[in-house]
């Protein structure tokens, strides 16, 4: 199969897009089977682990059996004192955590999780008792639904970790017993610590970053994903009110055809995709042209030019974008009302008052143009790096074939660039879907649009800026923000799958070594 000369199939040239599409479809087709075989693999190994769990209990001696109940006893019995003590401590801590704290939240978390209903039991309410000092009725603090979700999910993870630790301690203590049988002494804590700088060095390297990731990315993210399945918004603000589990209702609202929310979502989505498409490709092609211009033979001061353009990357975006937004500002709205320097210039030269921030279409076009200013130098840098790597003999052979510069670009440069930077383009597209800065700092999402207004979005809002406004703005709507976040994730994930599919087809990680 690898021998091309033995193939009887005639070679059919395909466009790269068709090829990409086909390989993507092939991946999708293969996915269920792959997933199934993987799932059975996981199932089998899990089943084997479960069997091992019971078998080692039956087989083990008293110390091993005891360590099923009290973690670390097996280790203590076989002389791994430090490890045993650590396991024991972990168990004690876990029990303390569950009794004093986790258990309560876990209970409230799951109480109505599957059936729908309040998150928490007691809403904050006024009791019948009069507080003479404050001069009002005593307020009784109720449950905080948000805390319940947060601590609930935290406790779920804690339980999960504990179970894994428990299984591990049981496995270890059985292995220790077995090792003792064949006369092997267990490694002491010194050896364990020494290994942390050698064969277990990854533990040293990864533990702190993973702790950070767990507490400040995984737990919050899991919480906010769950919020998408609740009714948490301005009307159910904690801690005054409880919110409810509502299942997929928010998704239904967001994606439904009829509701005003659905219409808003569709408009914002379409603009987001349009924006990502235009901003990615205009930047890419103009950046490439600029790179070609600078890299052309005979141009002097290449380095200076490159540096000049790079200046726009170097200046913090909030500075450059804010100043541009002020340069484009209309001042008041109508002709002759002054405003930013560019607006004034256009008005003086063309007699046209730029409707930046007033008219949706104008604003959108302006944003895409300004984004060129921001993004072209970046893709110029990238393209020059790659352009220099195009083998010179490709051009030489083209020159021998008397190919003109335009054809040379179309037939050699462009295909090469597209091939090499294909994954980058898609990554960039995903980046632009989430390009908060350009929109927020330039137009702030404006101008307003009546049909969008009720749902907190404006004319040039992307999903991501809408999300920001929903979670911070005046009409807080956390549940919708979470739904948008999840939908953005889905779009990104599908696009990333394309990249992954392609780059893994081109080269395996190991081949690079």
């Amino acid at each position: 199969m690898n021998n091309p000369t033995n193939q009887n199939f005639p070679y059919v040239p395909q466009s790269p897009l068709v090829r990409l599409g086909r390989s993507f479809i092939a991946t999708l087709k293969a996915a269920p089977q792959k997933a199934a075989s993987r799932a059975t693999g996981v199932f089998h190994s899990a089943a084997a682990k479960v069997r091992g769990f019971f078998k080692s209990f039956a087989d083990g001696d008293a110390a091993t059996k005891a360590s099923y109940l009290i973690m670390g006893l097996g280790h203590l019995r076989r002389g791994q004192i430090a490890r045993g003590v650590i396991y024991l401590l972990l168990q004690v801590l876990f029990i303390l955590y569950m009794v004093t704290f986790g258990g309560r939240f876990l209970g409230m978390f799951f109480e109505n999780f599957f059936t729908g209903g309040n998150v928490g039991r007691v809403e904050t309410h006024i009791s019948g008792e009069w507080d003479p000092e404050l001069g009002e009725y005593v307020k009784i603090a109720g449950d905080n639904s948000f805390h319940i979700v947060l601590y609930g999910i935290l406790t779920v993870f804690v339980v999960l970790f504990f179970v894994l630790t428990y299984l591990r301690s049981v496995r270890e203590s059985y292995a220790l017993e077995q090792a003792a049988i064949i006369g092997r002494r267990p490694d002491g804590i010194r050896k364990d610590i020494a290994l942390l700088s050698d064969s277990k060095f990854h533990v040293t390297l990864l533990s702190l970053p993973m702790v950070g990731l767990f507490f400040f990315t995984i737990i919050p993210l899991a919480t906010m994903i769950l919020i998408a399945f609740t009714s948490y918004d301005a009307n159910h603000e904690v801690p005054e009110h409880l919110f409810q589990w509502v299942g997929f209702q928010n998704f239904g609202d967001m994606l439904s055809g009829g509701s005003s929310l659905g219409a808003t979502f569709r408009r914002v989505l379409i603009w987001t995709l349009t924006w990502a498409f235009f901003s990615t490709f205009t930047n890419y092609f103009i950046g490439m042209l600029l790179a070609l211009l600078i890299n052309k033979k005979g141009i002097r001061l290449k380095k200076l030019y490159r540096t000049l353009f790079v200046a726009t990357i170097a200046v913090p975006q909030f500075v450059s974008l804010l100043i541009l937004s002020k340069m484009l500002d209309t001042g008041g709205g109508t002709l002759g009302s002054g405003g930013g320097i560019i607006t004034q210039l256009i008005e003086n030269v063309f007699g046209y008052h730029l409707q930046f921030g007033l008219d949706i279409l104008t604003t959108r076009i302006c944003i895409i143009l300004v984004n060129l200013w921001i993004g072209v130098p970046y893709s110029m840098l990238l393209c020059s790096g790659i352009l220099m790597n195009i083998p010179e003999d490709l051009y030489e052979s083209a020159r021998i074939d008397r190919t003109g510069p335009v054809r040379r670009f179309l037939k050699i440069t462009l295909p090469y660039m597209l091939f090499v930077t294909g994954p980058y383009l898609i990554t960039q597209f995903i980046g632009n879907l989430n390009n908060f800065n350009v929109i927020f700092l330039l137009s702030g999402g404006g101008p307003g649009d009546l049909s969008l207004y009720t749902n907190g979005a404006k004319g040039t809002d992307l999903l991501i800026t809408w999300l920001y406004k929903l979670s911070l703005g005046a009409d807080r709507n956390y549940k919708l923000a979470s739904v948008i976040g999840i939908l953005v994730f889905l779009i990104s994930a599908i696009l990333s799958l394309v990249v992954y599919n392609r780059s893994s087809a081109v080269k395996g990680e190991e081949h690079f070594q």
Partner: protein
């Protein structure tokens, strides 16, 4: 100062793919061992396992007698030179060479002394302050060697160290490394895919393919006596000519009929190693002859030594010192493209694609390469005569690809006449032992000649009624155990005998000999050799018991067919060191030769030191009597001298197995553990 021992070394990926299979080798101190083979043959993997950079999936690696399977690479006292040199780019040459010593916290002045000494040896003193980037390929190579030298390691590992150099430099470095080896007197293990490097540098060469060792031998023996088609094709350039053929013996002449039509006739004396069954005129074989041994025919050449073959020339390569003539055997011009084919068939076997697997896929070809003197003139289309050296022919079985004319003949095949209770061959008559009397009745009771196969080590010199004359003795010394090969003439027939002892007879001695009848075979008469290996399935188990002083201790048992047999401590240690506690979960197969078993009449109840069995049949081979013993439904064959009881058949016996002769196999993964 270091010997290495590799026993049953395996490398298994993903639990299924075996990159290295049952690698066994004893490497003596100061040897220069070369692992050679096409890419993917497992040579580098083996080297990296020795280095400790790859885990050893199964087996035992010892350096100077210590098991080092689980020793970190840095603690094995081994140095390695990498293919891309792996010099630390940010350090100077001096720092590169000093790194290992610094890591080991050697005092600074000693580091300085060692590094400058190594630099002097390698002639890189003037570069010590440079960074690797500023060095040429050859200089980098020297630094890499120097980095290894300063540590005074026990073993030097070199992983294709010359493959990044150009051809000229490579030749120079080759010589330099050889000199270095002599100077340092350290054990070297060198991996390469280049057979020229292997041949010029190695004191012994290990040829590998597909994870299997093909042959371990000296360069000379590899060249002159390749063990199989792959080794023959891999070693030597231009590659050996291979022609499919059949052999037919007529009296003292053997006709080698090539599939392409020509016939070579050879004196039988040259082919007396070859087993007669290949000479029946239709057993497919492959004839191999190196281009060195194919020269242009000259008038007056001795036809007993040289065969004359007409060749149609397709390509002539004048190399300056010699001329290579490519062509086809025969005078007809073939209709396929001769140039491409000739070119293809002369590629070194390691050049990729199918030919990499070693089996020449053009085995049906009739292409020939002639090594002619430099002034030889020939042109495309000419028909020239080639002279093929008949003494230098190699012969291979076309099915198994193994050489049928091995250097060390392991089996004699000669004609014999079974006569009921006796066996005559080569003018000797041996009474058949009782075990063979019954079976040796031929279909017709004629005294027709039959083919006797007689393993070389089944000829027992020193006693017996046979008389042989020693023609030649050769001491074979592979892996440190001396063996002697005797060439004998017995009544005009040549026989080879192998003994695991130094030579004890001289040339011309008349020696009595006997036969080990348990090993002989006369296929046409139903005489088969006794099975040489017993195999019993089982597990390895533990029991908790109370010892004499009342303590609870674990005892370990070889559980053969659910019959526990106490495991000896040394065996337990080996098993534990190889498999750890997983040994209790692994299905095993215990294999042992009949000699490993001692059979005694069973007196009491079985006591976990011996296997209980019941004799089902006695096999009297004269010198030794064997018994077929039923053990839990399986038959075990063991020597049995029935002195003890009258009714020997059906007797209840106990079998004690010598556990040092036991082979333990992981039945699931098919891996030899001990």
């Amino acid at each position: 100062m270091a010997s290495l021992s590799l026993k049953h070394i395996y490398k298994v990926y993903d639990g299924t793919t075996k990159a290295v299979n049952d690698f066994n080798m004893e490497i003596r101190d100061k040897e220069f061992i070369v692992f050679v083979g096409p890419s993917g043959c497992g040579k580098s993997t083996t080297l990296r396992m020795i280095a400790g950079l790859e885990d050893i999936s199964a087996g035992e690696l010892r350096i100077d007698g210590d098991i080092v399977n689980d020793v970190e690479p840095g603690d094995r006292n081994i140095a390695m030179v990498f293919q891309n040199y792996a010099l630390y780019p940010h350090m100077t040459v001096y720092e590169n060479m000093a790194f290992a010593l610094k890591t080991a916290k050697v005092p600074k002045d000693i580091i300085h002394q060692k590094v400058t000494e190594a630099a002097r040896i390698l002639g890189i003193t003037e570069y010590l302050e440079r960074k690797p980037k500023a060095l040429s390929g050859g200089q980098r190579q020297r630094v890499a060697l120097g980095r290894a030298i300063v540590r005074s390691p026990k073993v030097f590992l070199l992983d294709e160290p010359l493959s990044n150099l150009d051809a000229k430099l490579r030749a120079a470095m080759r010589a330099e490394i050889t000199r270095l080896h002599e100077r340092l007197g350290t054990t070297f293990i060198y991996v390469t895919h280049d057979q020229v490097e292997a041949m010029t540098m190695g004191s012994r060469i290990v040829v590998m393919r597909g994870g299997f060792v093909q042959q371990i031998d000296t360069p000379k023996n590899l060249y002159n006596h390749p063990a199989n088609l792959f080794v023959a094709g891999f070693i030597g350039t231009p590659r050996m000519n291979f022609w499919p053929a059949t052999l037919r013996r007529e009296g003292n002449a053997v006709h080698v009929k090539l599939d392409s039509g020509s016939t070579l006739t050879i004196d039988y004396a040259i082919l007396n190693h070859v087993q007669p069954r290949y000479m029946d005129g239709n057993h497919p074989v492959i004839v191999g002859v190196r281009p060195d041994n194919v020269i242009p025919w000259r008038a007056g050449m001795d036809p007993a030594e040289w065969a004359r073959l007409p060749v149609t020339v397709t390509v002539v390569e004048a190399l300056g010192g010699e001329t290579l003539v490519y062509g086809h055997i025969g005078v007809a011009v073939p209709d396929h493209d001769p140039i491409g084919e000739a070119a293809e068939s002369t590629q070194p076997a390691n050049s990729g694609g199918k030919s990499e697997a070693g089996t020449p896929d053009r085995i049906t070809s009739d292409t020939i390469i002639i090594k002619a003197p430099a002034d030889y003139e020939a042109h495309r289309g000419d028909v020239v005569d080639a002279a093929v050296s008949l003494k230098k022919l190699h012969l291979f079985d076309r099915e198994t690809e193994a050489s049928i004319k091995p250097r060390i003949p392991t089996e004699n095949v000669c004609l014999c006449t079974p006569e009921g209770n006796a066996l005559s061959f080569a003018g000797q008559r041996f009474p058949l032992p009782p075990a063979l009397c019954g079976v040796s009745s031929p279909p017709k009771r004629e005294t027709a000649p039959a083919e006797l196969s007689l393993p070389a080590d089944a000829i027992l010199l020193g006693t017996g009624m046979g008389r042989a004359k020693v023609e030649e003795t050769e001491l074979l010394d592979a892996d440190g155990s001396p063996r002697t090969l005797y060439r004998l003439t017995v009544g005009g027939v040549t026989l080879f005998a192998l003994e695991t002892a130094p030579p004890r007879y001289g040339v011309g001695d008349a020696v009595p000999f006997d036969l080990d009848f348990s090993r002989i075979a006369v296929e046409s008469h139903g005489i088969k050799p006794l099975r040489v290996e017993n195999a019993l399935e089982g597990r390895f188990t533990k029991e908790k018991e109370t010892d004499d002083r009342g303590r609870r201790v674990y005892r370990f048992y070889l559980d053969m067919l659910d019959q526990p047999v106490s495991a000896e401590e040394s065996l337990c240690e080996k098993l534990f060191s190889c498999k750890g506690t997983a040994i209790f979960r692994t299905p095993l197969s215990y294999r042992f030769p009949p000699d490993a078993v001692t059979v005694t009449p069973r007196q009491r109840e079985p006591d976990k030191t011996a296997l209980p069995g019941r004799v089902t049949r006695l096999l009297d081979y004269g010198r030794v009597t064997y018994a077929e013993i039923d053990v839990g439904g399986k038959t075990v064959i063991a020597p049995y001298d029935g002195k003890a009881g009258e009714s020997r058949e059906n007797a209840a016996v106990s079998l004690v197995i010598d556990q040092t002769k036991l082979t333990v196999v992981d039945r699931e993964a098919d891996i030899v553990i001990v």
